[in-house]
Amino acid sequence: MNKIVEKEQFSENVFKLVVEAPDVAVNRKAGHFVIIKLGEKGERIPLTIAGSDPERGTIDLVIQRVGVTSHKLTALNVGDTITDLVGPLGQATHIEKVGTVLAACGGVGTAPMLPIIEALKKAGNRIITVLAARTKELIILEDQMRQFSDEVIVMTDDGSYGTKGLVTKGMEDVINREKVDKSFVIGPAIMMKFAALTTKKYNIPTEASLNTIMVDGTGMCGACRITVGGKTKFVCVDGPEFDAHQVNFDEMLMRLGAYKDEEVRAFEAYLNN
């Protein structure tokens, strides 16, 4: 049982929860995630650890509501508890000073990017962040991202905010303008696929943080498996970050759809309750 000690709403569908988890708070690094489960009948879902306060013994979670579990979680309030929480899981991000880092995030990918740019910034890198989404309402965490970025470029597909265009256009504008030493891309699989193709064109080493379906998060089931450089890898223990130029995004896209029908049905049932 982990108690929620703070809750903040960032936008219509994005919330921050500060949760008691003393051991996790001490040992976590950028790139790590936790798995949470609500109630006896809940499912296990992975969430990036967005930040922590080891002295207070708390971690921060930034959650975007998409389906049943993320809705239930963001409906909880200060004083409520999360039934099960385990972590920190996964491999920590390799943080070093490389120079200029281009961080490209699409929609859901913004929350997991936050702790990464925080660590990269603290390691002395120059951070240029491209925040992209379909439309204005889906641009999230802009203020938080600005805090650790030297520059933030906002892109929307429909031009309702920032510059009109896809994330890849924002990235290419930067690449054509100055030398980029490394790139991180996080977002929907399709966005990561094209972002990776973009940086590959310019030979920029790129890491993608993959948000596959998970069950245990400890390497026990293989639900999270993907192909990287022709080899099967488990995202929960080998990742979540991988060389974006080696990841088979088409396979990942396909696997993410495994439970689409069930998810839609479960969500409708949840709304009707």
């Binding site: 051991d23 996790v24 040992n27 489960k37 009948k41 809940g42 499912e43 296990r44 049943v68 579990t69 039934t83 099960d84 929480l85 385990v86 972590g87 920190p88 899981l89 069950v215 245990d216 400890t218 390497g219 026990m220 089931c221 293989g222 639900a223 498996r225 993907i226 192909t227 099967t232 223990v237 396979e251 396909m254 696997r255 759809g257 495994a258 439970y259 069930e262 998810e263 479960a266």
Partner: protein, 493 residues
């Protein structure tokens, strides 16, 4: 060995034993037929998740106990990995002292209700029974009787909580909560240690919970044992991955003096054949975890699972049997085992194979998948299978399966469960400096189950690779004795 023979002799000479032995003639005993386990009708049970075997009623258990002739040299005991004093517990049943029988079982076996259900008796005690080796008749149903005595005790409400020595304040911990760790924790807490069991998942019990299905081993039986351990003072910490949430070094700093690694062999193996990452292809671990641990097949649980119509399960072990029978229960029209060797060579418990056949599971032996073909959404649609023939015996003594060229054919499938084995969990070896492992990733231990790091002991599947519940349990007990000796010599003074 001599003292044990003497012990058996003196025990066997006790009045009550002599009397009951003489009450029925040997001839009469050996002419009785082996009891059949009452079970749910196959066509009923393959649609529910209730236990298949219903257990023996008292009268039948008494009769089966009469078959045992109380051998002077009980060969059955030699077949038991933890040397349960089998004739003694069986004769206790024969005199109607069922609680006494359970006490005999618990002298050597921490979890008799579990072992009575899942041990491969046909390869262990029952294989060595006088009836099997000398009379060429079906053995005494030792497993059924073990289950009977253990269930009787549990249902009697008179389960004695074992006595616990005065707390010595010395903190020890296990990593994992499978049968190895549970057995270890019972012995350690009895000796007065301050025992903590760390488990990565949100449930205690290891494979007993997430792997073996309800229809073979109800969770309530495992929970009963865990409750008893809690009453004895064992502390269970869930959602704690040792090596991640805290390392062994962190735990040392918190005052833990010795560790038992019972982290199991939980890593699924795949075959690495084309199309294996298509949607609808699971490891057996994922499939069973979704259904058993996460309740995915129940309407009111949030975790989803794909319900297949044509389900193929690859493999021939217990895991494969559990997966294929689960698929049938979830509504598969066709649930098939695809195994590259013949039926005789399948490592699964014999009873499970028989049950599976009764439940209309199809067996495609001497068949091996070559590749999978998916539809345009990436969902598995067909598998290409190759026929095999048996060649010369290989290192395991079993005849090596050889593919027959040009024999490939297609089977329509919409769900596949890969149950071709597991590997040791690499997390502990990867996070403890100096911990020696084999090339298979198992932890190297000496005869005392002590690893190359002196305060770390290990047992169960993390040492043996995928093995059995009883071996894991036996290891836990052996490691507890050795750890106590180590602590006494090293720390106590």
């Amino acid at each position: 060995m001599e003292n044990i023979t003497d012990y058996y002799k003196s025990e066997r000479a006790q009045d009550w034993r002599t009397e009951i032995r003489k009450s029925v003639k040997v001839k009469e005993r050996t002419s009785m037929e082996r009891t059949k386990m009452p079970e749910q009708e196959p066509t009923v049970r393959n649609k529910n998740s209730l236990e298949v075997n219903l257990g023996l009623v008292e009268k039948i258990a008494l009769k089966e106990a009469q078959r045992c002739i109380d051998c002077p040299d009980p060969t059955c005991v030699k077949g038991c990995p933890v040397s349960i004093y089998i004739p003694k517990f069986i004769k206790k049943i024969e005199i109607g002292d069922f609680l006494g029988a359970a006490t005999v079982l618990k002298e050597t076996n921490t979890l008799p209700a579990v072992c009575g259900r899942v041990c491969p008796q046909e390869k262990q005690c029952e294989a060595q029974c006088f009836y099997t080796i000398k009379l060429n008749q079906p053995p005494v149903a030792i497993g059924y009787l073990e289950r009977f005595a253990a269930d009787y005790e549990r249902n009697s409400g008179k389960t004695a909580i074992p006595e616990v020595a005065k707390p010595n304040g010395i903190k020890v911990a296990s990593i994992g909560s499978g049968p190895a760790s549970l057995a270890w924790s019972a012995d350690m807490v009895k000796m007065g240690y301050d025992v903590t069991v760390f488990e990565a998942l949100h449930e205690i019990g290891g494979v007993l919970k997430y792997g073996i299905p309800e229809f073979r081993l109800p969770n309530s039986i495992v929970d009963f044992e865990i409750d008893n351990l809690e009453k004895m003072g064992v502390k269970f910490v869930k959602n704690f991955v040792v090596g991640k949430t805290a390392t062994i070094d962190d735990l040392r700093a918190k005052g833990f003096k010795a560790f038992f690694v019972g982290s199991g062999a939980g890593l699924p193996r795949f075959m690495n054949i084309p199309g294996e990452n298509s949607i609808g292809i699971f490891s057996s671990n994922e499939y069973l975890t979704r259904v058993n641990l996460m309740g995915a097949a129940k309407e009111d649980h949030d975790t989803p699972v794909i319900i297949g119509k044509n389900v193929a399960v690859i493999g021939g072990g217990n895991t494969a049997m559990d997966s294929v029978r689960t698929a049938k229960r979830l509504g598969a029209e066709r649930a098939m085992i695809i195994y590259r060797r013949s039926r005789e060579e399948m490592p699964a418990r014999l009873e499970e194979v028989h049950h599976a056949i009764d439940e209309e599971i199809e067996f495609l032996n001497l068949n091996n998948p070559v590749s999978y073909i998916a539809d345009d959404k990436g969902r598995v649609q067909k598998m290409l299978v190759q026929k095999m023939e048996l060649g010369e015996p290989d290192a395991s003594g079993r005849r090596r399966p050889i593919p027959i060229e040009g024999s490939e054919y297609e089977i329509e499938v919409d769900e596949v469960v890969v149950a071709v084995g597991v590997s040791p969990n690499p997390l502990i070896p990867a996070t403890v400096a100096g911990l020696e492992t084999t090339k298979w990733g198992t932890i190297v231990v000496n005869d005392d189950l002590q690893s190359s790091v002196e305060d770390i002991f290990a047992g169960g599947d993390i040492v043996r690779g995928g093995a059995t519940v009883i071996l894991a349990m036996g290891d836990g007990r052996k490691a507890a004795a050795a750890m106590d000796k180590y602590i006494t010599e090293k720390i106590k003074k």
